[in-house]
């Protein structure tokens, strides 16, 4: 019996009729390729595990070890601290690692997927989504560890825990939109993979992963440094919600979420418009 097929290619590659709206097309593609995205993400995680002796333990060990390194540097070398400092650092690292991993991978994603994109048609956003899913899974483990560490460091029960949902939404939207744009630029600009390491290092120090921007940076810079960088905003907001039982800056949080949603929409459109040229370059 002939198998039921799901189309792998657009039925028409020209534009004789009005093209589908990018977001509607993305929704349809997402439904169609969702099984591939999830299966491939699970396969990547499995490959990750099988390529090291300690396997999945590294997903726990890595953020824990980094937490110890930065806590040591901050407490012993710079003699700076905050209440619940190790958890403070751990939250920062969890947010940072998610952003950092996605952005770093996005730049070379099309080059590394050359074998696929030169042989079959797949909406390229799906490849970024797969990488994002893998990194999200690792970050969720890290986030779960935050909750394990909290009673250990005598952090009061976080009654505002629900607040991390909109904060995580902003992180995911911004990271996805930003990564898609870098994925596109990375196809054409070979040097971007080198430059991005320097840019990310600057971002890392400006985001307050292991120090508190509000108390350590003089006013008025501290106000803007936390708010003009959405990664720093998410870190500060999650710490407010989980450690210090305060509200985040909802206006900036809401504003950045809107901006990030627009960024995602524009990035999806950009990639749809340009993706069939990628195979010509790579």
């Amino acid at each position: 019996m002939k198998p039921t097929l799901t189309p792998t290619t657009p039925s028409s590659l020209e534009v004789p009729a009005a093209p589908r709206r990018p977001l509607r097309r993305f929704g349809a593609d997402l439904r169609r390729f969702f099984p591939y995205v999830t299966t491939s993400a699970a396969a990547s995680l499995k490959t990750d595990v099988s390529s090291s002796h300690l396997g999945w333990l590294w997903w726990i060990l890595e953020p824990l070890l980094f937490m110890m390194v930065y806590t040591f540097i901050a407490l012993v070398v710079f003699q700076r601290s905050m209440p619940y400092f190790p958890v403070f650092v751990f939250i920062g690292l969890t947010v940072w690692q998610f952003f950092n991993r996605n952005v770093t991978q996005s730049v070379t994603l099309m080059r590394h997927s050359r074998g696929i994109i030169r042989k079959v048609y797949i909406p390229k956003q799906m490849l970024m989504l797969e990488a994002l899913s893998v990194n999200a899974f690792k970050s969720l483990i890290s986030l779960a560890l935050v909750f394990v560490l909290m009673p250990f460091f005598k952090v009061p029960f976080p009654v505002r825990v629900w607040q991390i949902l909109p904060e995580l939404l902003l992180l995911v939207l911004f990271t996805f939109g930003f990564s898609l744009i870098l994925m596109h630029v990375g196809v054409y600009v070979g040097d971007l993979s080198n430059a991005i390491h320097v840019i990310l290092r600057l971002f890392f120090y400006l985001s307050g992963v292991f120090y508190d921007i509000t108390s350590r940076v003089p006013a008025p810079w501290n106000y803007y440094l936390v708010r003009v960088n959405p990664v720093a905003l998410v870190m500060a907001s999650m710490r407010s919600s989980l450690l210090y039982q305060t509200d985040p800056d909802w206006i900036w949080l809401g504003g950045w979420t809107l901006v990030s949603a627009v960024l995602v929409a524009l990035a999806i459109q950009l990639v749809y418009k340009q993706e069939n040229s990628y195979a010509k370059v790579l």
Binding site: L13, T47, R118, V120, S277
Partner: protein, 244 residues
């Protein structure tokens, strides 16, 4: 709107594919006028139709644009001008081992590669046993692909594509992989795939005997243009004369 033959499975009109503005550049060349100025037009306005159930052969010298044409039909390259219309059918470029992850088992790679080729999980599950049987890799199918020999790898990769069959099949050279026995089996399977009356096939090959045996019509590409299209014997005779 351009008139198209209702019996067409693929309609190609004024197809131009060029590589002109897509050269990768580095920061070193940003301020140089040389960056991005390379232009290479692989196809210069190609028109043709492929009828439903037809096997169209594509011939031409190296660099004539055959592989570019096939990739444009598969949706991998976008036209710079003109269009390709596949009238809603499912098109697949016969791609061997696409999406394989070497740390995964053969069985897991069947699922991954099948999903990437656009098949749904249910279909792949239904076809998995047939794929394994065809590949003759029953004993190692649950071992990581990294432990396979290159012959075993090719057998599995071929079997996935050969058993999961699309409506329109695009083939860049008739494939023959594995040991002698498997080569015969794969060649037979390929003939079955191609000869299925419901399936439209576009076959690119340098092997004129394969083209003569399998194709009902032939398109001769020369430097990115259609030099001739028509009856297999007539086009092959003209091509052979030109090549001599």
């Amino acid at each position: 709107m351009e008139h198209t033959d209702p019996s067409s499975a693929i309609t190609v009109r004024g197809l131009k594919i060029s590589y002109r503005t897509v050269r990768s550049f580095s920061f070193k060349t940003i301020f140089s006028k040389k960056h991005n100025m390379n232009r290479y037009e692989a196809l210069h306005g190609v028109d043709f139709d492929v009828r439903r159930g037809e096997i169209l052969g594509v011939i031409g010298e190296n660099g004539s644009g055959k592989s570019t044409l096939l990739r444009a039909l598969a949706g991998i390259f976008s036209p710079d001008e003109g269009y390709v219309n596949t009238h809603g059918a499912n098109v697949s470029l016969l791609a061997i081992g696409v999406g394989f992850q070497k740390e995964l088992t053969g069985r897991e790679n069947i699922m991954l590669s099948g999903l990437l080729l656009g098949f749904d999980k249910k279909t792949i599950r239904e076809k998995t046993d047939e794929i394994i049987e065809f590949s003759s890799l029953q004993r190692v199918i649950d071992s990581p692909v990294s432990t396979y020999s290159s012959g075993m790898y090719s057998k599995l990769a071929f079997s996935i594509t050969a058993v999961l069959e699309p409506d329109i099949l695009l083939i860049d050279e008739v494939l023959s992989v594995g040991d002698r026995r498997f080569r015969k089996k794969s060649a037979r399977r390929m003939r079955e795939l191609i000869s299925n009356a419901d399936r439209t096939v576009v076959l690119v090959s340098h092997n004129l005997e394969s083209i003569r045996r399998l194709c009902s019509r032939v398109l001769w590409l020369d430097a990115g243009e259609v030099r001739m299209i028509g009856d297999t014997d007539a086009v092959l005779a003209a091509y052979e004369e030109y090549m001599d």
